[in-house]
Amino acid sequence: MSADPRDEIVEHLPALRAFALSLTRNGALADDMVQDSLVKAWTKIDSYEPGTNMRAWLFTILRNTYYSNRRKAGREVADVDGVYTASLSEKPAHDGRLQMTDFHAAFAKLNDEQREALILVGASGFSYEEAAGMCGVAVGTIKSRTNRARARLAELMHLDMDEALEMTDGATLAVISGNRTASVG
């Protein structure tokens, strides 16, 4: 028997869970969604084109599951800000590391679409084009969602203020504080 693409699914499990957690911010809900998605992926393997990005295909199944559940529920499925946050261990903040609780709390305040765009593009390394394909929207839409999400996070975390100062070296510090002469020289 030739290689079954389904055998590759297991390699994407950690990423699939991470994506589910980022969308739902709720461990139990995320795992239920992963479970549903695995069954769907397994039974609909014919819709996967061998040689294409399997992770993108799996993520698409998962997000479709999530949004269709959300539609059915009529509202946001997960408005449990901070549930997942609490389960993550706190890390010391140094060298550009934001306080994780703060970051999670801010991240949870984004809307689903913004959070999704940011995770796909900012964290998982998908291109704007790939993310647009997965989300079924225009590339420009993904770009504006990520931009708005970053701006909102920066605002929520007061990133242009105290916190940012701690995490930058001299040159970027000057940039952030708007001191052009020091940075541009």
């Binding site: 028997m1 030739s2 389904r6 699914i9 297991v10 499990l13 950690p14 990423a15 869970r17 991470a18 957690l21 980022s22 795992d31 992963v34 479970q35 695995l38 069954v39 397994w42 993550l88 550009g96 590391r97 934001l98 994780m100 970051f103 999670h104 991240f107 940011l118 995770i119 900012g122 964290a123 998982s124 970053r150 996070l153 920066a154 990133l159 242009d160 940012a164 995490m167 930058t168 970027t172 940039v175 952030i176 708007g178 001191n179 052009r180 940075s183 541009v184």
Partner: protein
């Protein structure tokens, strides 16, 4: 413009932290239930293998 640089730097800081959060999630151990599910699905497929093409 300093403002553009500021924005670029902000994006960088946000993405760096995002990647750390994401990496933390990636590093979590995958619960056995998913591995069990996959082998269960595979088992079903092999038991009920209706002359699947090679």
């Amino acid at each position: 413009m300093a403002q553009d640089r500021n924005k670029a730097r902000q994006s960088q800081v946000i993405d760096d932290n995002l990647k750390r959060v994401y990496q933390d999630m990636l590093d979590e151990k995958v619960p056995d239930r998913f591995l069990d599910l996959l082998s269960q699905l595979k088992g079903q497929q092999e038991n009920g293998n209706h002359g699947e093409t090679k």
